[in-house]
């Protein structure tokens, strides 16, 4: 188990380093001179020089990179050029919306997908299976932001069960959750469709194995067999998908915030792009990629928890 863990940790660290290099290269090297890019064509020489100085752009790139990484390690993500406040603060506020949204959506997706996938696999070839397959076929084709608009039409404007947009803050947790519910559902449904299909297919494959028959021969009921044998073995491909879905959910959350006017990372990043606030873009992208890489690592850990063979093999 040790070797597997260490191997995964090394992989994690390596990915982070390479990802940070890529981000740094694109943001700080490719535009040529980030300072003049940020200030635009009409800026005077002096202003550009002053900004270049302030951002430490006169240092050699390798040094700048190291400073950046060292800063991030201590929680210093620089200062937003447009808002003149520490990026860490900005991101922290927005993460308080985006992260719970992504997690809420993930939870809903799993809660919807598992029963559906189990049902379809268990009743393979029959009506229930066809129904699930038909529904998921439509589900994976839905753009989540369009689905969100439809949800708003029906559940916020027609039947006023949920707010149509905005976020009241976490002061009142229930109100906050209510505001995130429609967005989470819109995000969750297409992902649940994908997950249900993967689960169904993994279960069908597993249920065809000989050890399932052995389990029945020992006197396990169909339900016990699925829970104690089929599900666990089917989880490996399912976990892979859940891991990938987290990254799509984060990206989806960013897009869906637009529909609901949520004060999350999405708005921050899109404004930063229009305002050419490269510092904010750089930090937010790094954080997003960091989140995805960490989730991949967690999924690798989960594999080891599920499949004991991985722990001894490394």
């Amino acid at each position: 188990m040790q070797r597997y863990l260490v191997g995964r940790l090394v992989s994690l660290a390596l990915s982070l380093v390479v990802a940070s290099l890529v981000i740094f290269a694109v943001i700080e090297i490719v535009p040529g001179d980030p300072a003049s890019y940020m200030l635009g064509l009409n800026a005077s020489e002096d202003t550009v020089a002053a900004l270049r100085d302030r951002l430490g752009l006169n240092e050699a790139p390798p040094l700048r990179y190291l400073h950046w990484v060292a800063g991030m390690a201590t929680g210093d993500f620089g200062q937003s050029y447009t808002y003149k406040v520490p990026v860490a603060d900005l991101v922290g506020q927005r993460l308080a919306v985006s992260l719970p949204l992504a997690l809420y959506a993930l939870l809903l997706a799993v809660l919807i997908a598992f029963p559906a996938g189990l049902l379809a696999a268990g009743r393979r070839g029959r009506v229930a299976d066809a129904a699930v397959m038909g529904a998921t076929q439509v589900g994976v084709a839905l753009p989540n932001f369009w689905f969100a608009m439809l949800l708003v039409l029906v559940f916020a404007l027609h039947w006023q069960v949920f707010p149509a947009g905005g976020f009241p803050g976490w002061g009142e947790p229930l109100a906050g959750l209510r505001a995130l519910t429609l967005p989470a559902i819109a995000l969750a449904l297409p992902q649940a469709a994908i997950l249900a299909r993967v689960l169904r297919s993994a279960l069908i494959e597993t249920l065809g194995q000989d050890y399932i028959r052995t389990a029945r021969a020992k006197g396990l009921t169909a339900g016990q067999t699925i829970l104690r044998h089929a599900l666990r073995n089917a989880m490996v491909p399912v976990l892979t998908i859940i891991g990938m879905q987290f990254s799509f959910l984060l990206a989806g959350a960013i897009i869906i915030e637009n529909v609901f006017y949520l004060p999350g990372l999405g708005r921050l990043i899109f404004q930063a792009i229009t305002q050419r606030d490269l510092i904010v873009v750089e930090s937010v992208v790094m954080i997003l990629v960091f989140a995805v890489i960490v989730v991949t690592f967690l999924v690798d850990l989960a594999y080891a928890a599920i499949d004991p063979r991985l722990r001894t093999r490394a």
């Binding site: 028959r213 021969a217 006197g219 009921t221 044998h229 666990r232």
Partner: protein, 129 residues
């Protein structure tokens, strides 16, 4: 009185007959050997008795065991018999056992399942012998 009395056991898969009118008796304490060429239907016979035939297969005939016909028992009754009164050991250990669980776990599982089932049914004593 035989422990197991099989008469006219026939199996079809998707209406194609693959086993016809098998009959034999098993005595308590006895050892019975069913011998045949590859594909003659030995495994299918055993699976039919366990109620574990593959999808699309149907069994006809009678298999009297403890006063009941195994071939017409409902699933929950069969579940109680399997692993407790009737055991089956498969010939290919590499595929017959779950590769992600230990052998010990899977052997113990039989005892655990049946003990828990008996408790759930409210009878404190082990069934028969």
């Amino acid at each position: 009185m035989s422990l197991l009395a099989v008469r006219d056991l026939s199996v079809t898969i998707h209406e194609t007959p693959i086993l016809g009118e098998v009959a034999f008796d098993l005595q308590e304490g006895g050892i019975f050997g069913l011998v045949g060429e590859s594909g003659s239907g030995k495994s299918i016979t055993a699976l039919a008795l366990m109620g574990l035939l593959p999808e699309g297969a149907e069994a006809e005939g009678t298999a009297e065991f403890l006063g009941r016909n195994l071939l017409t028992l409902p699933e929950d009754a069969l579940t109680r018999l399997r692993g407790a009164e009737i055991g089956m050991i498969f010939q290919e250990p590499m595929t017959a056992l779950n590769p992600m669980k230990t052998i010990g776990d899977q052997v113990a599982e039989t005892l655990l399942i049946h003990r828990a089932a008996r408790r759930a049914r409210g009878s404190g004593r082990p069934a028969s012998r």
